[in-house]
């Protein structure tokens, strides 16, 4: 209802803006050099907003006056102006420019890609549009070299880890800086306190995006100083274009399903297998075996519950968008509204989003321009429990004993499960809820003043407000909820960010010299608040708000802020289109840094030489463009705690009814940003009339002043101090190739390939050579790759007696699973290389695009498989995989799995736990090749469309994650960490239509 109203008023409003005044009709066809009709050419009456675009065959039809002049323009071609006169037919051939001039958005400006001396990867809207992804960060995957995207979770709108040129930090943040239309927005992940609403970027409708530019080296990113170390992702949304209003209605819908399942036993297989484990452990005539048999009955009579089927479902995806863009000489606009509803492939998990966007720019006078970008969004998410919790469908769906059911015969929930420690995830998901609502407003106002040509003052102010409210409700009838009599934990988080930027820029060409300069200031203020309340005691499930809690359990509130101020300059110089130099300097102050180091200076310089512009290249006609680049610079990572540098006192315990204050943070006035030093060498080339284009980059990214906790004597009141001590190095090669393989007779075939090889090394740590992060278990060892696996090696199962075996430090067989010296570095969780290849085909109105994405060289610890295979543990309820059949039974058996026993530790001669994960047994290759995206589109011929009064109709179908080749045995190799109980990604099929009118 709301949407209907909105669309209605939007249409009304926009119709009023489109003026139509015409006397007679002129028509014609626009073709290229080869006589092929050009669709989508703008045909506008000069000096007005009146115009049309050509249809699929290049035809147009327009109401004109004799005195009118028509402008024909199309990206990549030279525009033409033709006076109408008395003609009724005007056919035009556009040509002139063969090389597409590509513009990239750099910080505080745009640049021709050919003039770039830094390293920037760009995505245009065609590469983003209509992929059924709820946040644009996922869309970067496989399309930009050196940008690694891994989903922290496959839930719709869930958190995504984006790493540009490796992981540059251990304790500080590693996410890039995101800038949407000039507004620095608050990171990829929301506060840790929230469960559902974890990805701030899901507030943006990806189809509103015109382009994404990823600034990778310091030369490109140093203008953002202390925020730039992890790279910068600049998102530019769509703008209005001069011409009459163009509406587009875009509707798509689809289904989603899980990718893969574990091969689990049936109920009777499970009973048989476990009977054998009881016989192995206690003997054939043992009372334990008799008790087991009495409990479960005959194997042949067993029921068979497919728990994975209960956890996963066929999800659905619906997306509706309406946008309008247009403008006249003084004002242009883009407005859009969208609605998305996604029911995920996991029970109890969905996503719903409304977005509105308005981008308007207007000329106030000849010299002053003003504009605004406003976006609003409302996201509602429900999420089933995730991770290694027994009530998590993904975890327990793979841990259910097939011989029992979550339901009793009368349809009530089964309270006496053995599966998953007795937790009934079906009941939990039905009754409990985790509901998050996130409202985001990002608004920016800017002013441009150009007193003399090419001298431009720009000022802008922006605000980003995000409020997330989340309710975690544990129903009193669930196991976990019952211990509280029902529990409601409500969290409200706000994030308010204010920003202002002021720049002056000047460009001028004097003979062969082209100079450009920019100076500016940037100021950012960010404040986060949190309010948390919990209450228990809910008489029934009907009244679940916190006000209905019988017992208040606790409240918490926090309020924190940070500020950043910077001044910056960028100077550019190009001589004779051959020699390019650029210099950037930023001085940043941050409230987060210690008093002694509050300000940092971040310089970067780059040079490039366009070899192809030299006269000696004139005869080498095969090469159109050849440019070598080199850059060096420093950036900072300010993603540290807001008050880490200060000596603080905070709440201690209470004494005699009074609350105390105790030292809570040790002062370190020397604390500063982590410094990233980038060295980059690059090569850009275009050959065979630009049919084959590409870039190769080699980089070294040294992170110095790494923030680590150094131990200090406890006599100081603390045992560690956070200080800038460590060093790591990321280095790699990135290759990006674009080729037009075929372009003839209306058929084109293009290929876009990118690959990034990367390597990392820990150079220095605080006090010892090894650092293990307590929560994640990530290990850093000096001289080794980051995030290394440092484990004892698994040696298989002893064929003689079925015992587990490992290797000791001398490479000899041992029956002890020990730590200490027996461990060695066996690999890393980081890939050696990754990338993607997109093949696009188009013929007339038909187009097909196919993206394969791959990652090679990383290891994943498959703890989920370890859990399922572990027959002995949890009262013998595990041992669920068909792979359990490959267990040792008699001497001579050469099998991967140990003799099944009940009780994990009871191997002969005190052998260690075979199913522990602190050795290499469950370490698996994370390599994969995935058919990530297939998009088929068909634009209807205008002969059909024009009859309906519409402008353009495009039908499309997409498929995501259609096929995967991997040795990884878990749900999804595209995970961070172990993926234990984490929602895997979905295979999604959608069908949609874009209707222009």
């Amino acid at each position: 209802m709301l949407m209907k109203k909105f669309f209605f008023s939007l249409i009304l409003c926009l119709l009023a803006m489109a003026q139509i005044h015409a006397q007679r009709t002129v028509s014609g066809k626009v073709t290229d050099d080869e006589g092929e009709g050009l669709p989508g050419v703008n045909v506008v009456i000069k000096g007005t907003t009146t115009g049309v675009t050509t249809d699929i065959d290049g035809n147009y039809r327009l109401q004109v006056n004799d005195a009118d002049v028509l402008t024909f323009s199309y990206v990549g071609f030279e525009s033409q102006e033709i006076a109408v006169g008395t003609r009724t037919t005007i056919d035009v051939t556009l040509g002139g420019i063969t090389e597409l001039q590509e513009v990239v958005v750099t910080g505080y400006g745009v640049q021709d890609k050919r003039d770039l001396s830094g390293s920037v990867a760009s995505l245009k809207k065609e590469q983003i549009e209509n992929v059924p992804s709820l946040s644009f960060d996922r869309v970067l995957q496989g399309k930009t070299a050196g940008v690694q995207v891994t989903g922290a979770s496959g839930i719709p709108g869930g958190a995504v880890n984006v790493r540009i040129r490796g992981d540059g930090s251990i304790n500080a943040g590693s996410q890039p800086l995101y800038i949407v239309d000039g507004v620095m927005i608050s990171g990829g992940t929301n506060d840790a306190q929230l469960i559902a609403s974890t990805n701030a970027l899901a507030a943006l409708n990806p189809n509103d995006i015109e382009s994404i530019d990823v600034l990778k080296d310091a030369a490109a990113s140093a203008i953002y100083g202390a925020q730039a170390a992890n790279g910068v992702v600049i998102i530019t949304t769509k703008r209005g274009k001069e011409g009459k209003a163009q509406f587009e209605f875009n509707i798509s819908a689809g289904v989603m399903e899980d990718l893969k399942r574990f091969d689990v036993m049936t109920g009777s297989e499970w009973i048989e297998f476990h009977q054998q484990a009881y016989i192995n452990t206690f003997g054939a005539g043992s009372p334990q075996l008799a008790a087991f048999q009495a409990q479960w009955g005959e194997a042949s009579n067993a029921i068979n519950t497919d728990w994975q089927d209960l956890a996963f479902r066929t999800g659905s995806f619906k997306n509706y968008e309406l946008s309008a863009r247009g403008g006249n000489e003084t004002t242009n606009y883009f407005v859009s509204g969208s609605y998305n509803k996604t029911d995920a492939h996991v029970i109890g998990t969905d996503f719903e989003r409304f977005t509105l966007r308005t981008n308007i720019e207007t000329k106030l006078t000849d010299k002053i321009k003003a504009g605004t970008n406003i976006s609003l969004s409302n996201v509602v998410q429900n999420q089933a429990s995730e991770g290694g919790f027994f009530v998590s469908p993904v975890f327990s769906g793979a841990a259910g004993v097939p011989a029992e059911s979550p339901f009793n015969d009368d349809g009530t929930y089964n309270d006496n499960l053995v599966s998953a420690n007795g937790a009934n995830f079906v009941r939990w998901t039905d009754l409990s809820k985790n509901n998050g609502v996130t409202n985001t407003v990002i608004a920016r106002l800017y002013l441009e003043y150009e007193p003399i040509e090419n001298l431009i003052f720009r000022s802008s102010g922006s605000v980003e407000n995000r409020a997330a409210r989340e309710i975690d409700y544990w129903h009193p009838d669930t196991n976990d909820g019952a211990s509280f009599g029902g529990l409601n934990q409500s969290t409200h988080v706000t994030d308010q960010s204010l920003q202002t930027d002021h720049t002056v820029s000047y460009n001028r060409d004097i003979d062969k010299h082209s100079i450009s300069g920019l100076v500016g200031v940037n100021y950012r203020y960010d404040r986060q608040t949190l309010l948390y309340a919990a209450g228990s005691g809910f008489s029934n499930g009907l009244l679940s708000t916190i006000g209905n809690a019988a017992t208040p359990l606790g409240v918490n509130g926090t309020d924190t802020e940070w500020k950043l101020a910077g001044v910056f300059t960028r100077l550019g110089y190009i001589y004779d289109d051959k020699y390019i130099a650029s210099f950037t300097l930023r001085r940043d102050g941050s409230s987060r840094f210690g008093g002694a180091n509050q300000f940092g200076v971040f310089p970067a310089a780059s040079v490039a030489w366009r070899v192809s512009s030299e006269s000696f290249m004139d005869n080498i006609s095969i090469v159109n463009d050849l440019k070598v680049r080199a850059s060096y610079g420093e950036t900072g990572n300010h993603l540290i705690g807001n008050f880490d540098a200060l000596g603080l006192v905070g709440a201690g315990g209470s004494y005699q009814g009074g609350s105390s204050l105790i030292p809570s943070n040790i002062a370190n006035p020397l604390l500063q940003w982590e410094t990233n030093v980038f060295t980059n060498f690059g090569l850009d080339f275009g050959i065979l009339d630009g049919r084959f284009r590409g870039s190769i980059d080699y980089y070294i990214r040294d992170t110095n002043d790494l923030l680590l906790n150094s131990p200090i004597p406890r006599t100081n009141g603390f045992n560690t101090i956070t200080s800038n001590v460590g060093r790591i190095r990321n280095s790699g090669i990135e290759i990006e190739l674009n080729s037009t393989n075929l372009s003839t007779g209306g058929f084109t075939w293009t290929t876009n390939f990118n690959i990034a090889f990367q390597d990392s090394e820990v150079l220095e740590l605080a006090d010892s050579d090894t650092l293990v992060i307590a929560n994640s278990g990530q290990t850093y060892i000096v001289g080794q790759e980051m995030n290394a696996f440092y484990l004892q090696r698994w040696a298989g199962v002893n064929p003689a007696d079925g015992r587990p075996m490992w290797y000791d430090e001398n490479g000899e067989i041992t029956y002890q699973n020990a730590s200490g010296n027996t461990r060695q570095v066996v690999g890393s969780a980081l890939p050696d290389y990754f990338g993607g290849i997109t093949n696009s085909f188009s013929y007339k109105g038909l187009e097909l695009s196919v993206l394969f994405q791959f990652q090679v060289g990383n290891l994943i610890r498959n703890t989920q498989r370890a859990y399922m295979l572990d027959a002995g543990n949890s009262g013998g309820s595990r041992g669920l995989l068909r792979d359990n059949f490959n267990s040792w039974q008699q001497p001579g058996d050469l099998v991967p799995n140990v003799v099944p026993l009940v009780g994990a530790q009871s191997y002969p001669n005190g052998a260690g736990d075979a199913n522990g994960t602190n050795n290499t047994r469950f370490l698996e290759k994370g390599d994969y090749l995935r058919l990530k995206e297939v998009i088929i589109g068909y634009t209807l011929p205008s002969s059909i469309v024009s009859k309906t009064g519409l402008n353009r109709v495009r039908l499309y179908a997409t498929g995501v994650n259609l096929w995967t080749m991997t040795e990884f045995t878990g749900y999804d190799p595209e995970v961070t960490g172990t993926g234990f109980g984490i929602v895997p990604q979905a295979r999604t099929y959608t069908f949609g239509a874009q209707i222009g009118f």
Binding site: Y449, D559, S591, N642, G652, Y655, S659, S660, P663
Partner: protein
């Protein structure tokens, strides 16, 4: 147009070239910077309270300094069926001691907190001179207590050194102010540590009154504790004189026989106790009470039970024997001490007595007996018999060495389970004879010369502070 340019330039200038610090000033809202902590009366008081909250850390007066010395001595042992808590202490295993890493941490937390008070409190606006004196007095009191505790755990008594190894612990008198060389302190000698403790208690005596006793520091409590410090150092006259002052100024006498158990339920003779209500309680797993008793409702572990050795030390008719309950725990007959029995209502809710009047009488008796002479021995007997009579026992009439032994035996019974026994043996250079024929630890005699009598300094601390050396016997020195 010109105006516009000027405004822009002004913005650029103001941001770029004037004081950026103002633009970057932020204040944490849930914690405050150290200097701000002393900008108001309320926060300054709260920082002082932080010293007290440090006292009831589990490793300190929350549990370990009370229970571990009993386990290390001949008073208690671990029940056969136990939760694994303080088991190594029962058999004096290497590195099972009061002085583990957590104890070291707890002690220096308190020191760091009170040093913060001492360094800043006088600059707090709005605090009256009287309250400044009170708060400084409390800070000195707690610091004196902590250095005394550190000295008796990590060093031998100065009168009973072995091989002249005389190192105590690092003495820090100012709060942390950066990683300079002060942040890597060496160990002071044990005499220096005791001197610091005495000096702090003397400061406390000069600054404090008795209005906040017994749960906060008072002058009488400072005198009582200082008398104990002198007793440890065998400075008998000072110990006796300060004990007399403390007894005279306490404002109450020893609790009567009829009300004897009020000592533990109502702190009826406490000079200084650590207040532990439901708000401070360490709860179901780690309080003193859970170690001493397993309740019928399943709360508590009842890990630490009386040794036969202690039971045998009771004379017939001693009412204090009633504070020990015989039960059968998982088939083993054990004896639970009931001095800490969650008397506040919920599990672990017992105030921890740091010093009470009966001890001060015994301190004085011991000091006087050591000083000798008829008058002193008569006075000593008076103190001793006050305690004996209250327990339902007849007067002692001994003199000389026998009198001294009677006083020490009485001290063992009266102060049993309150964390004294191990230190009382150690300060006199005595062996620990844990066993007797019915006990399961027949051969457990730990001679005073054994290295395990003194706690080790933790390896992590030695690793990070090159100026520290460990006590003899614990690896390389």
């Amino acid at each position: 147009m010109k105006k516009f340019k000027i405004i822009l330039l002004a913005i650029v200038a103001s941001m770029g070239f004037t004081s950026c610090e103002d633009w970057l000033e932020t204040q944490p809202e849930q914690s405050i910077s150290e200097d701000l902590a002393f900008s108001s009366v309320e926060t300054a008081r709260a920082v002082m309270l932080g010293g007290y909250t440090g006292l009831y850390a589990q490793a300190y007066y929350g549990r370990d300094i009370i229970v571990a010395p009993e386990q290390l001595s001949d008073n208690t042992k671990s029940a056969l069926s136990n939760s694994g808590r303080l088991v190594g202490e029962s058999t004096n295993d290497e590195r099972s001691h009061v002085g583990d890493a957590a104890f070291w941490t707890a002690c220096y937390d308190v020191i760091n907190r009170v040093n913060l008070v001492l360094a800043n409190i006088e600059s707090t606006p709005g605090l009256s001179d009287g309250e400044i004196d009170q708060l400084r007095g409390e800070a000195f009191f707690l610091r004196g207590l902590v250095y005394f505790d550190l000295a008796r755990v990590y060093a031998r008594n100065p009168n009973f050194l072995l091989n002249n190894f005389d190192l105590g612990v690092p003495v820090l008198l100012t709060p942390f102010d950066g990683l300079d060389e002060d942040a890597y302190p060496a160990r002071a000698t044990v005499n220096e540590v005791y001197s610091q403790s005495k000096s702090d208690f003397n400061q406390a005596i000069s600054l404090l009154n008795n209005s906040n006793a017994p749960f906060r520091a008072s002058q009488a409590a400072a005198k009582a504790l200082l008398s104990r410090v002198h007793l440890y150092l065998q400075e008998w006259q000072e110990a006796a004189d300060l004990a007399t002052e403390a007894i005279n100024e306490a404002g109450f006498g020893i609790t009567s026989q009829a009300n004897y158990f009020d000592i533990f339920t109502d702190d009826s003779e406490a000079l200084f106790s650590v207040r532990i209500t439901i708000n401070e309680s360490l709860g179901n797993n780690n309080s003193i009470a859970v170690l001493y008793v397993e309740n019928s409702d399943g709360t508590g572990y009842g890990d630490v039970v009386c040794r036969q050795n202690l039971l045998d030390a009771f004379e017939p008719g001693d009412i204090r024997r009633d504070s020990i309950r015989q039960v059968v725990k998982d088939g083993e007959t054990v004896f639970y001490p009931l001095k800490f029995n969650s008397y506040g209502g919920s599990i672990g809710e017992d105030n921890t007595p740091v010093i009470r009047l009966s001890e001060v009488h015994l301190n004085r008796a011991e000091a006087l007996a050591e000083l000798g002479g008829a008058a002193n021995e008569t006075a000593a007997l008076q103190d001793l018999n006050a305690i004996r009579n209250r327990a339902g026992l007849p007067n002692a009439t001994s003199s000389g060495a026998a009198l001294l032994q009677d006083i020490l035996d009485e001290r063992r019974i009266e102060l049993a389970f309150e964390g004294h026994r191990f230190f009382d043996l150690k300060r006199r250079g005595l062996d620990i004879s844990k066993g007797n024929p019915v006990d399961d630890c027949v051969t457990c005699t730990i001679p005073y010369s054994d290295y395990r009598i003194v706690a080790p300094i933790q390896q992590a601390e030695l690793d990070v502070n090159p100026n520290l050396v460990n006590n003899p016997g614990y690896g390389d020195n």
